[in-house]
């Protein structure tokens, strides 16, 4: 071992000359607190011997400190919870280390004399930890309950408020959205496809929940298999959808679904939902910072990009009810989903409709179940043909 030549301060051991006394020593890296070190602390190499702990500070002006194992007062703690502190009796010197093998080395060097104290400290730490986790869980639960309460409270209040708002609000929102969206090039009012879709909507209108809603139809020249409704009753149908439908009843199925979104006022509900999130988040902002902000962003985006699954199911069932009372077989709606499902793999263009209308199988079976629960009725075929519309779309 190299020569030590160090000053002595207080209980610091002075060693001079060649020392080769530690046969069973083990070295760890840690640190020392002592007033004689500038700034009061330094990193140190810690040597565990059967008699004492030696700590040699690093860098210029290196010093050696020693602490008898018999005097060592153990403590556990630090940022990791694994830091072992050894203090002398008046706490003027502290040697600390958090390396994994350090407790074992101390234990064997002291021939088990420190084991009881280690056990005591670990069990104390465990009980503190479990108590703390208990309180943390209780607090998080409480925060979650308060947030959920605010969210659902605002949601319920907003839904009541939405229902009491006049339909003209829906129409204004729909009109503003139609201006800002500009979904594509619309076909002419007198185009056979527009006329066909308008005829189907007029056929369904008397059976909708709000018959005097201002349903307006726009057919858009686009190969996507898509249709959507804006609040207030503007309904957009893409020519791709008409091209893929087998008969007018299937188009009526999709239109009934979209009209149901408008009459059930799902658009306004969506706005009120994000309002609920905003209010709940407002309560939280300031303390749990980034994570919550991120969570709220994700939550808001997913709410705003599509209707919820519950809203889709609601629109399916309301649409099926409209078809039934209008004398059209609600199975047509399910048939169109079947077509979507089969053509799904080949035509990426139809993905758009599928992505916002997930789980076709569930919906088809749901519609079938609903249809079976309806009183038996005599369904009549619609006296409308898709042929003219399909031909005219092709010529565009």
């Amino acid at each position: 071992m190299a020569a030590y030549a160090f000053a002595t301060v207080g209980n610091i051991l002075a060693l001079t000359g060649d020392v080769d006394m530690f046969q069973t020593e083990q070295t760890f890296s840690g640190g020392v607190f002592h007033h004689s070190i500038p700034n009061g602390r330094a990193g140190a190499d810690i040597i565990v011997t059967p008699v004492e702990l030696l700590a040699r500070t690093q860098g210029d002006g290196s010093k050696l400190f020693s602490l008898k194992l018999s005097e060592c007062q153990l403590e556990l703690g630090g940022a990791s919870g694994r830091m072992v502190f050894c203090r002398n009796t008046d706490s003027s010197l502290t040697i600390f280390c958090e390396e994994r093998g350090f407790p074992a080395a101390l234990s064997s060097a002291s021939f088990g004399a420190l084991d009881d104290r280690f056990r005591e400290l670990r069990s104390l730490q465990r009980s503190q930890n479990s108590r703390q986790w208990f309180w943390v869980s209780i607090s998080l639960l409480l925060i979650a309950v308060v947030c959920a309460g605010l969210y659902f409270g605002t949601l319920a209040a907003a839904q009541v408020a939405v229902r009491s708002l006049p339909i003209s609000v829906d129409e204004k929102i729909g009109q503003m959205a139609s201006v800002s969206m500009a979904p594509g090039i619309p076909l002419a009012e007198q185009h056979s496809a527009t006329v066909l879709v308008r005829d189907i909507v007029e056929h369904l209108r008397p059976y909708s929940a709000i018959p005097d809603m201002d349903f307006r139809v726009v057919v858009i020249q686009d190969e996507q298999v898509n249709a959507f409704a804006l609040p207030g009753g503007r309904i957009y149908v893409y020519t791709g959808l008409i091209r893929h439908a087998e008969n007018a009843e299937q188009v009526a199925g999709v239109l009934a679904h979209e009209m149901a979104h408008a009459t059930l006022r799902h658009g306004l509900q969506k706005v009120s939902q994000s309002l609920g999130i905003v209010v709940a988040m407002q309560f939280m902002v300031g303390d749990v910072g980034g994570l919550i902000a991120f969570g709220s962003q994700v939550a808001q985006e997913s709410v705003l990009t599509s209707y919820s699954r519950a809203a889709e199911t609601e629109a399916d069932l309301e649409g099926a009810r409209m078809l039934h009372t209008a004398g059209i077989d609600p199975a047509a709606m399910g048939e169109f989903f079947e077509i979507m499902k089969h053509e799904h793999e080949e035509l990426p263009a139809i993905l758009s409709w599928i992505s916002t209308h997930p789980q076709h199988d569930d919906r088809i079976s749901e519609i079938r179940r609903f249809r079976d629960s309806l009183p038996a009725a005599q369904y009549r075929p619609l006296q409308l043909s898709l042929d003219d519309a399909k031909r005219d779309i092709g010529q565009q």
């Binding site: 607190f33 700034n39 602390r41 330094a42 990193g43 690093q58 940022a79 943390v136």
Partner: protein, 217 residues
């Protein structure tokens, strides 16, 4: 290498006066001015993987700038937030810095990211922290004034005010008072700092500023 922190505490900036051969590393983008005799080389912040980890988890930049004086000259370093800077000498000991606090270090200092844990996250201090260790001086900055405290026993610090702490110090989340007063008294979650060692705190909290601005939007 002589250094001076000027214009303290509000708009602190670090003046580094360099002799030929002096070198140090600093956070990318921290330089406000430098002599023409000082060369600047950019490198990954401690190797590619380390740099990416530090960028993602410790709020530091992907690159580090190394300044080397070929002839005598100076470099002035600043930080984005208005606030103080502090010089901290390390003698083989380790210090944990909050994300974004680091400004510069002498060549003997190693930088790394360390896992701070769920307790730290709940305390509002993040899942990761920057670990600085080695021999030499480290400079870091904060929002507002910086003050340090030797911990003996326990101290309660509001979340967002802790800038740096030693590994010998334990931090755990706590409530400022009871459940009611904690959430309606505006203090919410606090950090209970315990053990032996030094912590550095900032007199302003960024979350406090964000909340204040937010309430005026």
């Amino acid at each position: 290498m002589k250094t001076e922190i000027r214009n303290r505490p509000a708009f602190a900036n670090l003046l580094v006066e360099m002799q030929p051969g002096d070198r140090f590393v600093a956070e990318a983008g921290a330089m406000a001015s430098m002599s023409s005799g000082v060369t600047l080389s950019t490198r990954w912040n401690g190797g590619f993987l380390n740099a990416v980890l530090r960028r993602i988890f410790a709020g530091e930049t992907l690159f580090m700038n190394e300044y080397l004086a070929e002839t005598a000259g100076h470099v002035v370093l600043t930080q984005p937030l208005p606030g103080d800077m502090i010089e901290m000498p390390l003698r083989g000991n380790t210090m944990y810095l909050q994300p974004g606090a680091f400004i510069a270090a002498e060549p003997g200092i190693q930088l790394g990211v360390s896992w701070a844990g769920i307790k730290s996250l709940i305390s509002g201090e993040g899942l990761f922290r920057l670990k600085v260790s080695g021999q030499g001086r480290v400079w870091f900055g904060a929002y507002g004034a910086i003050f340090s405290r030797e911990i003996q026993g326990e101290l309660i610090v509001d979340s967002g005010h802790l800038v740096a702490y030693e590994p010998t110090v334990g931090i755990r989340p706590g409530l400022a008072g009871g459940i009611f007063s904690s959430f309606f008294g505006g203090e919410g979650v606090v950090i209970r700092v315990s053990g032996q060692g030094r912590i550095y705190m900032q007199s302003r909290s960024f979350n406090g500023l964000a909340a204040w601005v937010n309430s005026h939007l």
